[in-house]
Symmetry: C3
Subunit: 466 residues, 3 copies
């Protein structure tokens, strides 16, 4: 009595038949293009060691906060799902998940997961209470085969380059191991300095000291601290990094004099600065990072606007990344001005802006990116990495910023198998958007044919200097 | 020369034929489901006394601020419409309305009213200057017949349950009369304590005293004041209430210590507190109400973000609810944190959030409801209770919160006959949305068939514990 | 090998065939209606002198900040485009533009420009590197013919009335010359007092003195300053003006006592007031202008929310209007209250509100315009004067404000030939919107037929009292 699972070839294309037919044609030209994944959170150790993933829950439930936050919202305890080191039986957790799979109807998680179930694991019935064990067994068994080891999956899905994200204190040993191996998959890192840039980060003072040890610089002085960043950025670049990444609560930047910056650093370095000091220091560091990017060429990504760990009880019990990061209203126009006053007209600088506040798309981000040489727009992000979210992104940014001030898609995921699934969604939605423009005679068909591979592949490769 | 009035069977369904056909099929399965109306502002006296409504203007023009605000915006005096006790001749007012009915083109009021004219009163020509008298006479005459008495209409439109809204000082005598009568229509109340919770409410100090008399509690003390609330909530629950309702200017909550709350209460209870005290007291009271809900199980509704009585001249002349309540930007993420710090993980607590600020749908409300066990999303509200508004609600919330963190439709109206009209609109729009998902292969047809009655009936019934 | 350029007769209509067919029918009834252009920035000297435009770059590149900001955003130097007095060869600039014309794909600039190329200049191949010279020569040659002189183009495109925008210090000599000529094109002015109303405007103190000289009033006193405004407004009205225009950073209004206003004026008139004084003075002046409008009948336009000259380096090198004006979040509900407290219920006052912050459409502007007799909504503006922008405007305002609280289209452009192109886009999008409503049975076909010419022509004419 189980329901069939079949991915329809026209999924995610617009309903109108003429638009759909053209979307299908465009998609056919990009479906098999290699995947450029320039921003994400997969674990490089997977590719360094190439060990099999453990079981269905370990691969598809435990690391996916999109999934378990939804189950949690309906009253299911995280302990029962095996989150954060609870000893729940993986099969029992999987059954709970299966029984509640209807909660994901019309969500992007459901779209990605069905793709993984069908395309990666060959399942042809739908996940529900009745098929929970079939799923758990099938997936878990396949994971033990050579075809499902990390490198094999990487190759199977045509990933041309995959960026992970590491902090300055990371030794990048897994990246070194990958480069030293005989496998030629391109897994690179990205420089994410929050732990030594954000005075409110757990262990900030200790982290500064560690950064000093690692670099031999005196990170208790402002010049030594900046030199340590420069050194680590150089090391990251040697290990393949082409970008840095900055996940601040706001987009605030500052442009302090050297003396002011020095004095501010002296206040925050001991952990005794105020909350306003912390915000100002993060702001100043965005501008410092931009200055370094002008020199070393790393592309700068700014990901603001998430209030992390909103659920304090949950944070105290389970730690970070448990699905309780909530977006907030985010200003860009005033916030970025200090940085742009200094570097806005640098044609060699490349800053990619993201947002969780869609009201800024047409009002702030598209006008900024449609003017400043250094600015480009990242794709629909996180909660908005979804069919409706991507459509709104295109509808609200294209008319002012055009396509060429955007940077293609990136998946930003820690759920490895969702990478090809997510790129597939993005390609389908973008082809649908282009087809709509053609049928409304706002774009020529040959232009759409040129743009489709740019949106799927070319823009990301160039924007991230890959 | 009058124009025909006919409700098209496909109204409000999407234009694309395949989507439309499926929307029609889905709608057929829910069109006749009973109406759950868990939040609204009809007058319980109607059902207690079951007297006939007076005339067309009294039923369809005077109580409907959606209607007369639009006429007022075009320079028509409220006095000429018979609003707020003016002695305008009802037929003359109706004629003005009829002559200006074109102002409502493409508004939801027009959709609801045409439904009422056609479906309830059997009119088959359109309202305009030429048919004004025909309308006035037909409607007024029918209202004198038994079939148009309040209880008969309630039964005719298949209302399973209808909630009104009353303040703590209300004796609920009409609800008592309904329960004591031989009619078995289910008309329940909801606990809306603004008059004794908001220090800026007209007569707040007097209201506190009255609450003391009514309950026998010493409402000049903080514990006595809270005990009085508990007692009235219990009484409301006995009279059928399953929910409370909170219409604050903002969504601010607070989590003060008992001593701080006591001190704050002492400042506001005499009417001498500052405006900041008033805001903090309202904020603290949301958290207190949540605490009571954990105990007594009343579902909590938070309706923030309307700046009431924006037009001061009008307010001074005509009083409240004259169409001059204007939405404002509303923050939820910071505002709700104090309450959520205390009760966010209570699976037994149920808080339904509404908004007039659509920019919060995808950015704040869906992420919050998609994580916290105690939170759910109310439907598109007030200015957004409309075809476009409902579509935006589904498009912007479903991907993050899913369908099951929403609570179905509610009409929130004081215009009795618009209740079935509004539910019909919601059912049509939701079926159109589901059909769109199916045709785009984002949802299976059998899933849409399961979801349609949930959105029309099941979710509301369960969310409001009816 | 060049690509053909052909304007499709169905461009910008929705894709669904039934909707499209109806849109086409509605459009046919309005396509040839005269153009009402009640707000814009063309140069009256063109029509006074009726000299030929110089060359392609001078007409279509140099004055169009929509165009050169996009080129600039991709690293092209403004000097190479001949902007702001650089001596770049116009043909060389045109070639750069042509080579980069793909940047404009799916932008409104592309739609307008293709219309101009095809419809005005008869070009039948697309602009690209290979056709750059053909374009430059064809356009430049035609510009030297009598048919392409300003008055001939004005007549050819059926412009019934065109408003320019001038400051109080302008002598309006070009308008006088037009009126004195034998040409009967109606070119009127609009009163834009920023230079003598905004204490932060370049040369404000000097401007005040000049205003005194021009009017014979003592503009160093508050009564004299107001009298000078009244006098200039009267003069502007004599030269055809029916409106004033106010481009403040915010929508703030104030309602100071006469003594407070006097004291504030004394602080700002010497250029020594604070930034808060400047904001308060602008705010008070909106209310003073409303008071004058009540007397003299000029329609008041409020255009807030643009942070001008965001790129400081560029501003210092090239001056104003170089594509670096960036929208900001804009509040209307609190901001307008002081003015509305005083004049909100004046049925003779007409205030047209614009926004660059689309989040205010449904939340603030439609509810305000749907209530206050004095308020109406201007069309989708600037960055939102685009197909998607116009659709969002209609979708987010119509249900609450209706059509009759809107004022038709205006082009707000300094690019003369884009005027007919922009009106054509607006007419097509509005007809598509109406057609969609009809096919979804939310509007009758005969109502759409009545509304189409209102949106294209009638509403603008009446709202601006033309």
């Amino acid at each position: 009595m189980s329901r069939p699972l079949e991915l329809h070839e026209d999924r995610l294309f617009p309903a109108e038949p003429e638009v759909r037919a053209l979307a299908r044609e465009l998609y056919a030209t990009v479906a098999q293009l290699p995947i450029i994944s320039p921003h994400g959170h997969t674990d490089p150790e997977w590719f360094a060691r190439n060990e099999p993933f453990g079981n269905a829950s370990e691969l598809l439930l435990h690391p996916d906060h999109y999934v378990f936050r939804m189950l949690y919202s309906q009253g299911i305890a995280l302990e029962d799902l095996g989150i954060a080191g609870s000893n729940a039986d993986p099969r029992a957790s999987w059954r709970i998940y299966a029984e509640n799979y209807h909660l994901f109807r019309a969500t992007p998680s459901r779209t990605w997961l069905d793709w993984v179930f069908s395309e990666a694991f060959g399942l042809d019935v739908r996940l529900d209470a009745g098929t929970a064990d079939l799923y758990f067994d099938t997936i878990t068994e396949k994971l033990q085969t050579p075809e499902f080891r990390p490198r094999a999956l990487f190759d199977r899905y045509g990933i041309e380059v995959l960026a992970t994200t590491e902090g300055p204190l990371d030794t990048l040993e897994h990246h070194a191991a990958i480069r030293a191996s005989d496998w030629n998959g391109r897994v690179i890192t990205a420089y994410r300095p929050d732990a030594v840039v954000d005075p409110e980060f757990e262990g900030f003072v200790h982290n500064l000291a560690q950064l000093g040890e690692l670099t031999g610089e005196d990170t208790m002085t402002w010049p030594g601290y900046l030199a340590a960043h420069r050194q680590r950025r150089r090391f990251f670049a040697e290990m393949g990094a082409t970008s840095s990444d900055h996940g601040h609560p706001t987009a605030a930047t500052a442009n302090l004099s050297s003396a002011e910056a020095q004095a501010l650093f002296d206040r925050v370095k001991t952990g005794t600065g105020s909350s306003a000091d912390a915000e100002l220091f993060r702001a100043q560091m965005l501008t410092e990072m931009a200055a370094m990017s002008v020199d070393d060429g790393l592309v700068m990504q700014i990901h603001p606007g998430s209030l992390r760990n909103h659920n304090r009880q949950l944070f105290e019990r389970f730690g970070r990344d448990k699905g309780a990061d909530i977006p907030t209203r985010t200003d860009y126009v005033q916030a970025l001005q200090p940085l742009l006053d200094r570097f806005g007209n640098e044609a060699n600088l490349s800053i990619i802006l993201f947002t969780l506040d869609e009201s800024s798309y047409a009002r702030e981000l598209a006008p900024l990116a449609g003017h400043y040489p250094c600015l480009k727009l990242g794709p629909a992000w996180w909660f908005h990495d979804s069919p409706e979210g991507m459509r709104r992104f295109r509808q609200m940014t294209t008319e002012t910023a055009g396509f060429y001030n955007t940077v293609g898609f990136n998946d930003d995921t820690r759920a490895f198998l969702s990478i090809p699934a997510r790129h597939d969604v993005a390609r389908r939605i973008d082809c649908g958007f282009l087809a709509q423009l053609v049928v409304e005679h706002r774009l020529e068909d040959w232009e759409a044919a040129e743009l489709a591979p740019e949106l799927a592949y070319g823009l990301a490769k160039r924007a991230y200097r890959l």
